[in-house]
């Protein structure tokens, strides 16, 4: 059980093509002793990482909010925000209904850093949107939280693909429910003439499949990313 920080330096390959110290293009070539142990979480014992901890070269207090952790969360948020602008049509019947992969980032943050990370990334990623479309942003935050936090909590107990799937199923159910309920509450605020029962009658048949589809896509992509991302983080910590 270690909250320690690992360090790493240049990785060199003894093959023909080498890179001078000046090259910056490669993650493994840039030396940065000290990085984050991905399984840290508030207070509680961290689940053991897949690789053994070698030795700690840390010179800072390794409580929860190290500078590196803040930086990583910030980059997750930046990527998530960037991804909200990637819009993909997923319903051939309704090409104006678009999907964006930003919630995948929240889920991956949750898997790799724990439920509180998922919560933070979920909320902060949509804060800028609060200024442009406040209700849409609130629903988006709700959906992101319900998708990523439960999944992360389940995965934290047992770090296997099986529990990841389980967590994501749970997240899908909760997120879809949240989306429907959220829309029930909020749509009448856009237009008082639309009563709750009207929403139930007419919108739910559209909302439900659309949100389930989005959640399923998020889950599938997150599962596909789980292993490579975990490996990248472990590499980083080497």
């Amino acid at each position: 059980m270690s909250n320690s920080v690992q360090s790493h330096t240049f990785q060199t390959a003894s093959d023909d093509v080498t890179v001078p110290a000046g090259s910056s293009s490669v993650a493994s070539d840039s030396a940065a002793p000290g990085s984050v142990n991905p399984s840290e979480s508030i207070g509680s014992a961290s689940s053991s990482p897949s690789k053994p901890v070698v030795s700690s070269h840390s010179t800072v207090d390794q409580s929860r909010w190290s500078a590196k952790r803040i930086a990583i969360y910030a980059l997750f948020v930046a990527v998530a925000i960037a991804l909200t602008f990637v819009e993909v049509p997923i319903f051939p019947a309704a090409p104006y209904l678009k999907y964006d992969p930003s919630i995948v980032m929240c889920i991956i943050a949750g898997f790799t850093f724990g439920p509180s990370a998922a919560a933070i990334v979920s909320v902060l990623s949509f804060v800028p949107h609060l200024f442009t479309n406040p209700f849409g942003a609130i629903i988006a935050i709700l959906v992101a939280l319900l998708m990523s936090v439960p999944a992360a909590a389940v995965y934290r107990r047992k770090r296997t693909i099986g529990s990841a799937v389980l967590g994501l199923v749970l997240g899908t159910v909760l997120a879809t429910a949240g989306a429907v309920v959220g829309n029930l509450i909020i749509t009448p605020l856009y237009n008082p003439a639309i009563t709750v029962s009207a929403v139930v009658g007419l919108i739910v048949p559209v909302l439900l499949p659309f949100n389930i589809l989005k959640a399923v896509i998020n889950a599938v992509i997150s599962l596909a990313l789980l292993r490579p991302c975990t490996r990248l983080l472990a590499n980083d910590a080497d």
């Binding site: 090259s23 293009s25 969360y73 930046a78 442009t132 992509i221 990313l225």
Partner: protein, 834 residues
């Protein structure tokens, strides 16, 4: 560029105390016994220090002492431990054994290990500068970034002001104090980073290859700044591989495989000798020297052509090779093309005519900002010309139809293509392209095998891409494009950032491909490298608006496309004025946020046209009272109004009450439906406008600070408000960087056939993975550097930070509150009275 290089080389040697007799050039094992206390003038003292990483020993029993006021250069080949040593000296990492004394404090002892308090205290006097300029700047305003360090140290606001202005003055960046760092060149950003460390008044400055990614001008600026700091008495420790830089030092330490093999004056060091260039091993597969001499255009320009005022022109071929070329097919036809980036005022390319015929090897050259990368992006279909036409084999590479027809024929290798690697093994990554082409698995495997052979990396087939060296990664990425068997290969700076051997390897590969009939177009700032293999050079002049700016050649901190985009964006964005004039812009941001939230909530009481009118008057007044002005705010909302239109239409179909006006199919359009739609759409539009007003009246930094301040009571119950505020600030800072990298990545993967919008679900999933894994890797890399930068500037969990900008509610806020209260009163009163 050569003059600035000469300037750098002739900076006089700093006045450093002579090398102390205790530093040794002998091997560590013959060191005299370690002294328990360091000399009074030593700022850093490492004794018997060993650093292990896994099973590998990075530093072996090292003894180093750095004295006050010295200028030390640390040199050595890749993997020799230079960076680890720099981290040990800056107090950011601790060894496995030995003893470390920094600033006279015992930070690490064999007996008790790490002393966190000593390290913290020592770090207050040591600054670190890394090689990526943009990964060290934490926020979107230069002066706010410089203030980050002093804020971490809890200094009072007036002290922070002094420190910030002093640091900016010393680095010559006062003029850019209010600029967005994203608009600055690499050299300027590095100076800002240095200013950020100088604001803490460090006694020692450790710089890890600070000029590695900069162009000669940026390099000269950085070295000048370092010299200035050194003259002020700061000790300089610089990790470098550039001989001319090392010669500025009074003392050079050379590392090899974790041990010091030389420690003495610069004159004595082999690596510093002027004649000792970079490792320049003659390639075993050297291309025959004079292959292209008969084909080469006589007008190969040695430098930029005569008239800088003229728009980009071409050195078109006009000799006998053209006649031959016209018999062969024309691959690319660029006719009278001009291109302007969406946000830019000026044109990057103007009236370009350019053709590529089959079998050529063309290098496109020109200084940064001249548009060479942009031209390549037009050829590959990433961008569409603003005027004129680009055709590839007669097809438009930008149109959807053209992309379908051209799939697999044009191979596009982006700048730093290793960023596109995403699969578990090299072979799988190379298989991505052919699989997207629809080949069956047998053909795919054959292609992969053949391509790896051609590129010469067959033995890397089952390795993970993340384990490879930089040069190997690049070859793997190129293989990923080659496996599609393209007829044309477009490459953007394929040799950037690689050493001589790796460059030769790549050039040899391109030459071999060329001989096999592949048409090759290379964008490069170093045409000499390709002189023996290229058939023609197309030179782009600087456009008249162009690289008079501060971004120039070989600035590796940004890609060509970024700097070309920046050139023209810079003219457009004025800097923020320091003093706000109008009422809303002068408000305390916290009050602004509260007031806006109340107004947004108030909008939802609007149910009648009269209320709507009243509300509109209020919002219009507010908009006019901002510095930005109503027009600008409305303009910023226009894309959002589209959503509102959709909602409005939705409403029209929804409400069935009232009398029908007409029918669309079986759905009646009623008068009440229309009334509803208009009313509530406008209502929502006003909500958005209120939000936009808040955003334009205060910068994102101020908004984040204000929200943090308003929510700070929550911190007492355990909600990490302050950390989240910092996360938000950093995220906003990195957003443009990540967006750009993501866009480039998307183009690269798209040109390999990856498409998330069309195709079978499994293909779309793979395409999504091909985008998200690399962007995740990029995010980690940025975070790594940023975390180190923050730590070196005193950020630690649990510290109490002060804020430089403190605002207090004043008269403007009172007026605003009164105004909003009146407005609300009106909103509520109207339905009662009418």
């Amino acid at each position: 560029m050569t003059t600035s290089e000469a300037n750098a080389a002739t900076l006089p040697l700093p006045n450093a105390p002579t090398v102390s007799a205790t530093t040794s050039t002998a091997t560590p094992s013959t060191q005299p016994a370690a002294q328990p206390t360091a000399q009074p003038t030593a700022v850093a003292c490492l004794r018997n220090v060993t650093f292990r990483h896994g099973t590998r020993t990075v530093l072996d029993n090292l003894d180093v002492t750095i004295h006050d006021g010295e200028w030390v250069a640390i040199m050595g080949s890749n993997g020799s431990g230079k960076t680890t040593l720099s981290r040990l000296l800056s107090g950011l990492t601790a060894p496995d054994n030995g003893s470390v004394q920094l600033m006279g404090l015992d930070c690490f002892t064999p007996v008790s290990g790490v002393n966190l308090d000593a390290y913290r205290a020592a770090r207050r006097n040591i600054g670190l500068v890394q090689q990526n300029p943009e990964d060290q700047i934490v926020t979107t305003v230069v002066e706010d970034d410089v203030a980050f360090g002093p804020e971490n140290q809890g200094l009072p606001a007036h002290t922070i002001s002094e420190r910030v202005h002093d640091a900016l003055a010393r680095t010559g960046m006062e003029g850019e104090a209010l600029s967005d760092p994203d608009d600055l060149s690499g050299g300027q950003q590095q100076r800002v980073a240095i200013a950020g460390t100088l604001a803490l008044h460090p006694r020692m400055l450790v710089l890890d290859e600070p000029t590695a990614m900069l162009d000669p001008q940026g390099r000269a600026e950085t070295l000048r700044t370092m010299k200035m700091a050194h003259d002020h008495g700061t000790t300089i420790v610089q990790v470098t591989h550039i001989a001319s830089e090392a010669r500025l030092a009074s003392r050079v330490i050379e590392l090899d495989n974790g041990s010091i093999i030389y420690d003495g004056p610069a004159e004595g060091c082999n690596l510093c000798k002027p004649a000792a260039a970079q490792v320049s091993v003659p390639p075993s597969d050297a291309a025959p020297a004079s292959k292209q001499s008969t084909d080469t255009t006589p007008g190969l320009p040695a430098g930029p052509s005569a008239q800088p005022a003229m728009p980009s022109t071409s050195a078109s071929c006009d000799d006998s090779s053209c006649d031959d070329a016209s018999q062969r097919g024309i691959v690319f036809a660029v006719k009278n093309v001009s291109f302007r980036y969406p946000n830019a005022d000026a044109f990057t390319l103007r009236n370009i005519d350019f053709t590529v015929t089959q079998g050529e090897f063309v290098t496109i050259t020109g200084s940064n900002g001249s548009g060479k990368s942009t031209l390549l992006s037009l050829l590959s279909g990433i961008n569409k010309p603003t005027q004129g036409t680009v055709r590839a084999w007669g097809c438009d590479p930008h149109s959807r139809k053209g992309k379908r027809q051209l799939l697999g024929r044009i191979g596009y290798v982006m700048q730093m293509p290793e960023r596109q690697l995403f699969e578990t093994t090299v072979a799988q990554d190379v298989a991505f392209g052919p699989t997207n082409l629809g080949l069956n698995s047998v053909s795919v495997n054959q292609r992969v095998h053949d391509t790896l052979e051609t590129v010469g990396i067959s033995k890397l087939a089952d390795r993970s891409p993340w384990e490879l060296s930089g040069g190997q990664k690049r070859l793997a990425a190129i293989a990923g494009v080659l496996s599609m068997d393209p007829d044309v290969l477009l490459l953007d700076e394929p040799t950037a950032g690689l050493d001589a051997r790796a460059c030769h390897r790549i050039i040899g590969l391109l030459d071999g491909l060329h001989r096999r009939g592949v048409t090759i177009v290379v964008v490069t700032h170093d045409p000499d490298r390709f002189r023996t293999v290229a058939t023609r050079t197309f030179h782009l002049d600087t456009a008249s608006s162009g690289s008079a700016g501060n971004i120039s050649d070989t600035d590796l901190s940004q890609t060509n496309v970024q700097s070309e985009h920046k050139q023209h964006k810079q003219q457009q964005h004025g800097k923020r004025r320091r003093n706000a004039h109008r009422l809303v812009s002068r408000m305390d941001t916290r009050v602004l946020e509260i007031v806006c939230t109340i107004m947004m909530a108030g909008m939802f009481t609007v149910t009648s046209p009269l209320q709507l009118a009243w509300a509109f008057i209020g919002v219009l007044t507010a908009m006019c009272l901002t510095d930005a002005g109503a027009r600008r705010i409305m303009a910023s909302c226009k894309s959002l109004f589209a959503i509102i239109l959709v909602l409005g239409l939705f409403n029209v179909f929804f409400v069935r009450t009232g009398s029908a006006i007409c029918h669309i199919g079986t759905i009646p359009i009623t008068d009440e439906g229309l009334r509803n739609a208009v009313l509530y759409s406008l209502r929502f539009a006003l909500v958005i406008v209120i939000g936009a007003t808040a955003v334009s009246a205060a910068s994102t930094t101020r908004l984040t600070d204000a929200t943090e301040s308003l929510l700070s009571p929550l911190a007492r119950i355990g909600v990490p408000i302050h950390e989240c505020a910092l996360i938000m600030t950093l995220a906003i800072r990195f957003l443009p960087i990540i967006s750009r990298e993501f866009t480039q990545l998307a183009h690269a993967q798209a040109s390999r056939g990856g498409n998330i919008s069309t195709g079978s679900p499994s293909k779309r999933l793979k395409a999504a993975v091909s985008l998200l894994v690399p962007v995740f890797a990029l995010a980690l890399r940025h975070a790594e550097h940023m975390g180190t930068a923050m730590e070196s500037r005193g950020y630690e969990s649990g510290i109490v930070r002060t804020h430089w900008h403190q605002s207090h509610p004043g008269a403007a806020d009172l007026c605003a509150c009164i105004g909003v209260a009146l407005w609300l009163a009106g909103l509520i009163a109207i339905p009662q009275l009418w």
